[in-house]
Structure formats: C-alpha cells, structure tokens
C-alpha cells in the first residue's frame, strides 16, 4: 500500500474523507465535531500535501484503485465515505465498484459527471477562471473562509502572511489536481451511466450558493444514484463543510444514524 499522509481524529467506526482541491486542513472546523461520531481518516491524495506522487500515477483510474485499497485496509466492515468536491468525484467512482466494507456514502458538491448539453458548462473551469471569479462562485461569503483552509479561489487569498512552505504545497496540490482532471475537465464521460451501480445509502449535500457546480446539477447527480437523498445547506457555496461546518456535521451524523446497520 502506498504511503499516504493521513490526518486522523477521534475513534470508532471509520469515516473516510476524500478531499477536494486541497487536503483537509488540521484547522478545518468540521473535523472535531465529526470526530465525536467516529474515527475520521483523511488521506492526502498522491501528489497532495505530504503524500508522494509515484512515477506513472496520474489518472482517475489510479485514484479509484488506490482508494479501494484504502477502504480494504480500514478496520471493521462499516465504513462511511465522504467525498468533497473533486473528492466527491473520486468517492462516486469508488462507490460504483462496490467496495465490500462501504456502508454509506456522502457526496458534498461533487464534480465528476456531465449532465448538460455540449455547449453548456456544468462545472466552472477550475484552471482557466480568474481566481477572484472562482472565489465569488465557490463561496457564499468569502469573508468567512476559515483561517488555514483553502478551497477554490485559494490563489486570491495569497498574501505576505502565507509561508513559503504553504505556497509550495498549494502549488504542488494544484499541479496534481490538473494532472488528474484537466481534460475532460473534472468529469468522466462514462461515470453517469454507471452511478446506478452504487448500492449503499447515499446522501448528496449541496451548498445552496454553489456556483462552481449548481444545486440543479446536484439534483441531477443524486437522481442517478438509486435511493440517494439530496439536501441543500443554506449559507454555503462549494465547500459547505468549511462554510457551515455545524450544519454539515449535523446532516452527516443524522444520515449515519438513519442508515446504521443498513
């Protein structure tokens, strides 16, 4: 198994977090409240944070197989997987493969599928959009971005207080994300047809103000997963776990309780 950087909090049933554009920050405000309900395990994808990027590891196919390994190696047989944004795409792909230990799935503002017409952009372009425009689209209220947490539009927050080490890590994360998802941009043309294979209870959460991928896209996404529930979170954009951590944890915990033993 690959040697990944892993952030851990709490104990109990594993709650695997598959991160988005950047790894889960130790300062992320949802971490401690969520860790009261299980063992939070948040790896950094290869090429992100302190996780190495192995030679010839470079596609979504590699990530999907890696995360199947990660789930196989978790203790017990009751795993909750939460995918955030770009990580929601990975989590959806992994869930399609029906890992034996996966019991429930939460997708928060995932990308990964194409729903609209060929001239409609479902997903704002992460790399070709101005950082200030990304910030506007990704956050309900950018003034409330938690300290030390970097979502889409992170470039616009660079200032003199940011350390060189943080910049090097952000640059490496951005390069790795691009390697995995430049084209087709942030989706797998084949995934939509296979979402029907997801066989665990699924909650699709969406920030009401998300203009990276809109709540309508989210409704369409949830509609392709058998039995999935779709819920929005007010006062949040593309990163509800960072903008409304209490509401986010509340929804996740309620869903976990409902599907306990299922």
């Amino acid at each position: 198994m690959m040697n990944l950087e892993i952030l851990r909090r709490g104990s109990g049933r594993p709650i695997l977090i598959v991160h988005g554009v950047n790894p889960v920050s130790p300062k992320a405000p949802f971490l401690e409240p969520l860790a009261a309900h299980g063992s939070v395990i948040a790896p950094s994808h290869p090429g992100f944070g302190a996780s190495p990027m192995p030679q010839d590891f470079e596609t979504m196919y590699d990530l999907v197989n890696l995360y199947q390994d990660v789930i196989d190696d978790l203790p017990g047989d009751d795993v909750t997987m939460i995918g955030l944004g770009f990580g929601g795409w990975i989590a959806a792909e992994v869930a399609v493969t029906r890992p034996a230990k996966l019991r429930r799935l939460v997708l928060a503002d995932p990308v990964g599928i194409k729903l609209g017409g060929r001239e409609e952009r479902d997903i704002a372009h992460f790399f070709n959009t101005r950082p200030d425009e990304l910030t506007r689209r990704a956050w309900h209220d950018p003034s409330r971005i938690p300290e030390g947490c970097y979502g889409l539009g992170w470039q616009a927050t660079i200032d003199e207080r940011m350390s060189d080490a943080e910049m090097v890590t952000l640059a490496r994360n951005w390069d790795s994300l691009c390697l995995y998802a430049w084209t087709p941009h942030m989706y797998n043309p084949r995934l939509k047809a296979w979402l029907r294979r997801i066989a665990v209870p699924t909650l699709v959460l969406w920030g009401e103000s998300d203009e990276i991928v809109t709540p309508d896209y989210g409704r369409g996404y949830a509609g392709l997963i058998p039995g999935a529930r779709f819920e929005t979170i007010a006062g949040a954009g593309h990163h509800p776990e960072l903008e409304q951590p209490a509401a986010f944890v509340d929804r996740v915990v309620r869903f976990m309780a409902e599907s306990l033993g299922s």
Partner: protein, 392 residues
C-alpha cells in the same frame, strides 16, 4: 573561421486593437475576442510579409516561422499552413519552423507528415524546431500543462522515427502517444532528416540537446543566461565523449533593427519591444497560477512577483546593453553581434525579430536589406572565439 547566418523571425503581430480594449482586457492572448481582428487587415498583413519573405529569399536572409494562438501577438496559428506557403514562396533560403506546438498537437505522426511534405515542397530547405510552449497556449490548445516537457520529448522521438523510417509501418505505444501503423508519405527530401532545433534556456534540456546534436536557440536570453545554456550543451557533449559542436549548433534570437544611422535605428527600434510591453499581457490563471507554470518550489518567488526573467527596462539602450537587442547602423549592429558571439562563447545563427509591434512593412524591408547587404558580409570568416574574453 566562422561565417554567421542571419534569420528573419516575424510572428505577424496584429497591433491594431484599440488601446482601451487592450487596457480593459485581462489577457491579450487566449481570451481576447476575435471580433477585434479584422480579416481584411489580416489579409493585408499576410501579403506584406510574403513580400518581405520574397525579398529575404533574394538577399539571403533565412526565414523562421512559429505558432501562437488566439492573440494579438501572432497570426501564425495555423503554423504548418504558413510554413508550407513560405516553402512555396521561396527558392533559396532555409526555413525554420520554430515550431508547430508539439505539446498541443494530439498526433505527432500528423506533425511529421506536415514537415515531410514541407521539406519536399521546399526541396530540402526545412529545419524543424521544437518549443515546450505553455501558458495561454495550453488553454487555447486544451493541452494538459502538466508533464509537458516529457510529452515534448516523446513527440520529438516519434516525429524523428516517423521521418527516418522507410521500410513500412512501425508501431508506437508510448506514454503519451499511441499509433499502431506509422508510415509517412512523402518521406522527407533531406536524408536522414531535416536538422532539428529546440528553443530553451533550461540547463538540463540544453544538455540533452547537446547529447542529441540539436541546434540550441535562446530567445532574448542576454549574455549570461545564453552563455550558461551553451556551456551546458558543450559540457554534456564533452561528458558523453562526443565531438565538439560547431558554432552552427548555437542560435540566438534578439530584437533587431538596422537603420542607415544609429539615430534612425534607435527611433524605429523603440517600436519593437511592443512584444514585451503589450503583446504578452496575460491573466494570472494563464500565467503564474497555471498548473505547471513553475516548479512548486519556485512558486513563492513567482507568486510574490519576483521571478520574471523578462527585462524590466525596455528602452532600446538598455536592451542593447543586456544583449537582448541589436540596433543601429550596419557597422554598429555588426559590432554588437560580434561582441555577443564573443561573450557567449560562439554562436552561428542570429535570429532577428524586426517586424514587430508597429514597425511598418517599409521599415522592415529597409532593415532586412541593410542586414543582408551591409551586416552579413561583416559576419563572414570570423576568427575563433578568444576564450579569455568570454563573459564571466
């Protein structure tokens, strides 16, 4: 004894977009709407430059074409079309494609086919140049900007094999490109293939060019960076036990204007840095924040705003002093080029960027004429480099 060559590099810029539009745009490449490019004006520009190329063919200036997309700096986007036309317009001079963008093109076999065709049309006058590219070109060409250097080398290898294989189809199953049935017709006119060039100042890449014997060209590198690049090339050859490279393996592109007097040249030459002052403006997501734009460990310097390799003082005098521009009367320019050759340890091929910005057709024709008739003769039969006088 060394005889230097002069090459004319014109990108066919389109400097006719209103300044207020350019000022308001966050990028003059990739995203500037093409409603600002009047095809009637563009047609006139192509005609003027074809005339310049015919004159170059008559007077002995070789010709460089290149490729950029979706911006005011360059109307050579359909680069193989342009290079093919140049092959047909001219009869004597060499033509360097520098180049079509192999990191943007999905099929190197198609690129090889275009180059072989142009080589045949020109009856063996084609040289093939490679550039890594990046920035707005990745956006315009929808090319993943990560791993482009590795992709470039695989494309070059596949193009080389396509041009030099003559015994029926071969198969290629590489990391970036696959093609099970490569069999290029026509094969190139030159044997074993047209000469290869590459534009880079990246030292490990220069070393690889040295081992492969490609021509190493630098764009506006100035004295110090150019000398270091050439040294990396030479050192790599020496380390590999290869024979010493001649000066024809080294090339340098600079802004250039040759006038009848120094005063005239300086006055007209001041229009040329438009290339840097106007035509390069690019939004942050297409430049410093583009994935792969800089190695992650260089990001702090780039993002804090200090990593630009571009000159900051763009006056003609300053550009001349830094070795980034050759400008003056014919004797002045010959002296500048000879001094540059000496300080970088030898260079055989000078590429002049002259028709740039608002330099007119007539002004370009005049400079080319003076360059060929009064500068070039002074660059023949030059003595060997005095190693003691190389730049430190």
């Amino acid at each position: 004894m060394t005889s230097m060559e002069l090459w004319n590099h014109c990108e066919n810029p389109y400097p006719f977009v209103p300044a207020e539009v350019l000022d308001a745009a966050d990028s003059v490449r990739a995203s500037l709407p093409n409603k600002y490019c009047d095809p009637k004006i563009a047609a006139g520009l192509y005609d003027e430059i074809w005339e310049e190329y015919r004159q170059c063919d008559d007077i002995g200036l070789h010709i460089v074409t290149n490729e950029h997309h979706s911006g005011i700096n360059n109307l050579w986007a359909a680069s193989p079309v342009i290079t093919g036309i140049v092959a047909s317009l001219t009869r004597k001079v060499r033509i360097l494609s520098l180049g079509t963008l192999v990191t943007v093109r999905p099929d190197p076999v198609r690129v090889a086919t275009e180059y072989a065709t142009i080589d045949v049309i020109s009856k063996g006058r084609l040289d093939i140049g490679f550039v890594k590219s990046g920035a707005t070109e990745m956006v315009s060409g929808n090319a993943n900007p990560i791993h482009i250097r590795e992709r470039e080398w695989e494309a070059i290898d596949l193009i080389e094999k396509s041009l030099t294989s003559h015994d029926g189809p071969f198969s290629w199953e590489g990391k970036f490109f696959t093609h099970p049935h490569v069999n290029v017709w026509p094969r190139p006119y030159q044997s074993p293939r047209p000469d290869f060039w590459a534009a880079t100042s990246d030292l490990p890449t220069c070393a690889e060019l040295g081992r492969r014997g490609f021509v190493n060209t630098l764009l506006f590198g100035g004295y110090d960076r150019t000398r270091k690049a050439y040294d990396a090339y030479k050192d790599a050859r020496a380390a590999a036990g290869l024979p010493k490279a001649g000066e024809d393996r080294f090339s340098y592109m600079a802004f250039c204007y040759v006038g009848e007097t120094d005063e005239e040249a300086m006055r007209i030459g001041q229009k040329i840095p438009w290339f840097l002052t106007v035509s390069i403006k690019s939004a942050p997501q297409f430049s410093k924040f583009q994935p792969g734009a800089v190695a992650p460990e260089m990001a702090p310097a780039a993002w804090r705003g200090g990593a630009s390799k571009r000159p900051t003082d763009l006056s003609v005098a300053s550009l001349i002093a830094q070795g980034q521009m050759f400008c003056g009367n014919p004797d002045t320019v010959a002296k500048q080029i000879k001094e540059f050759r000496q300080r970088v340890g030898g260079v055989g091929r000078i590429i002049m960027m002259t028709r740039q910005g608002l330099v007119t057709h007539a002004q370009a024709m005049k400079s080319f004429n003076l360059a060929a008739k009064e500068v070039l003769p002074q660059l023949r039969d030059l003595p060997p480099i005095d190693e003691e006088r190389r730049a430190a």
